[in-house]
């Protein structure tokens, strides 16, 4: 048994005002943890979206939890632009650090490897580069007249995600979301909500072990069934399209967003829908 199993509210308390929090975009989005952060009134987060973000960052921004967004793009996909993100950028309420997808991955991989920086092709001549004071252009040390961008490591305070299965030993099964290893290695702490906690050791199952995140990298696990709702979790549940659509509509203006938020706060949908 592992002492890393905690309640959702205990987990949320480990995320402090001002923390740099890294979020993976794909089907591993800890929506219920996000709602809990809003309820507890977390402020001034620096979100890193890997590499892009959708409803979770938009909702956190709208609720006033966020000071900075480091991202390659925030959008609700087929449900349109991310309205709260858009209005926060426009008003200057949040600081935006625009990147490009592989730059986010590369920065996290640098932190994973303990490198202070990592090079990346592309970017030169873009306004993305022009507006990132923390990106540099150096000469390739191995070739004359070959400028190349170098990116600083991205070392978040906390990685958070939702997964299907953890075990009582603190290991988490991440299925095909291999990038969850990168973000967990890069972050100081990793907090995971899961659909189920099993008694057997995931690492001792030869077919599961290759897609397991070792307990060494996991600082907290909370049992939160439907914790990605209304987003999806492959093998467990699909998108709840009408709820996402309702969000997309509500988020279009601040007063309907506020109303939507109050509905969320007054009753968690997670264990009842």
């Amino acid at each position: 048994m592992n002492s890393s199993i905690v309640s959702l509210s205990e987990m949320a308390k480990q995320i402090k005002n001002g923390h740099k929090v890294v979020l993976f975009k794909d089907c591993s989005v800890p929506m219920e943890l996000g709602r809990t952060l809003i309820k507890q009134g977390t402020k001034d987060l620096h979100l890193v979206t890997v590499p892009t973000g959708s409803m979770l960052p938009d909702m956190l921004i709208g609720a006033g939890c966020v000071a900075t967004v480091e991202t390659s793009g925030v959008s609700l996909g087929e449900f349109g632009l991310a309205p709260q993100f858009g209005s926060a950028v426009k008003s200057g309420r949040i600081k935006i650090l625009d990147a490009t997808c592989p730059a986010i991955y590369a920065g996290l991989q640098a932190a994973e490897k303990g490198l202070p920086f990592i090079p990346l092709r592309g970017l030169i001549g873009s306004d993305v580069l022009k507006n990132r004071e923390d990106f540099r252009v150096i000469d390739n040390p191995f070739m004359e007249n070959d400028p190349i961008v170098v990116l600083p490591a991205i070392a978040p305070d906390v990685a958070i995600f939702h997964a299907g299965m953890a075990d009582v030993y603190g290991n988490v099964y991440i299925a095909r979301q291999a990038e969850l290893k990168i973000i967990s290695h890069a972050a100081t702490k990793t907090l995971v909500t899961v659909e189920e906690i099993v008694d057997f050791n995931i690492l001792e199952q030869p077919e599961l072990a290759p897609a397991a995140l070792s307990a060494m990298y996991v600082d907290g696990i909370a049992l939160v069934p439907n914790g990605a709702w209304p987003l999806n979790l492959p093998g467990y549940y699909d998108y709840d399209r009408s709820s996402i659509k309702a969000y997309a509509v509500a988020a279009e203006n601040d007063s309907s967003f506020k109303t939507w938020l109050e509905t969320q706060n007054s009753s968690s949908k997670v264990n009842s829908h």
Binding site: K25, D26, C27, V50, P51, T52, T71, S72, G73, V74, S75, G77, E78, L81, A82, F85, G86, V89, K90, S91, G92, K95, I96, D98, A99, T100, C101, P102, A103, Y105, Q109, L120, R121, G122, L123, I124, G125, S126, D127, V128, L129, N131, N145, D146, P147, I148, R176, Q177, A178, E179, I182, P234
Partner: protein
Amino acid sequence: MNHSIEELLIATIAEFLYGLKHIAVGVLSPIPGSAALLAKVRSEEVKKVSIIGSTQEPYRLDGGVDLFDCAGQGRVDAFFLSGGQIDGQANVNLTGIGAYPKQETRWSGAFGSAYLYFLVPRVILFREEHSRRVFVPKVDFISAPGVSAPNIYRPGGPYALVTPLCQFLFDRNKKQFFLKSIHQGHTLEEVHDNTGFDFEVPETIPITAAPTKKTLKLIREKVAPVIADPYPDFAKKCWPNH
């Protein structure tokens, strides 16, 4: 045989893809996705079509890093980009309108464009709206530049631009679009009226070839059922009887 505008666009884009080993398609791209699938069913050399974000074999990739690493290795031959604004130097703006950072209109962001536009040899620009709002003299924000100085490592870049009115090729030396053909029923005047940047025009302007009967059959029988998985609404709209 009658065809829809979507079928014309699919067939037109596919012409750029035959013989390429690996074609990658971004999210929310049913027409480029269909074109890539058409290229695959028509061309044995096309070994892989990757649809970013797909969770279906054989279209998925091995996670998010895989696409970018694969492009870095030179193993992605074609990709598609769009833009809220595109200008005559093929600069692409996916970020927003107005003075950065507090833009009047903020779109999503650069996504992979500022990297893939440099690395993938054939980047096909595609936009379903052909207007002066989209095709501007100069983009407000360069999410990804169309051209680079000669000393910049850039095996990739813009190759063509396809719209509902016409198709352009991009001349990387002249740093300019070149009108390749106008689709049936449209005119050069219409293209000029709706394009905010200058482009080269050939002496005689071909009409875009209509998809052949065989091509249409492949689109309807082989492509439509596959593209219906990621894009059910698109497939229902285009091929209501299939």
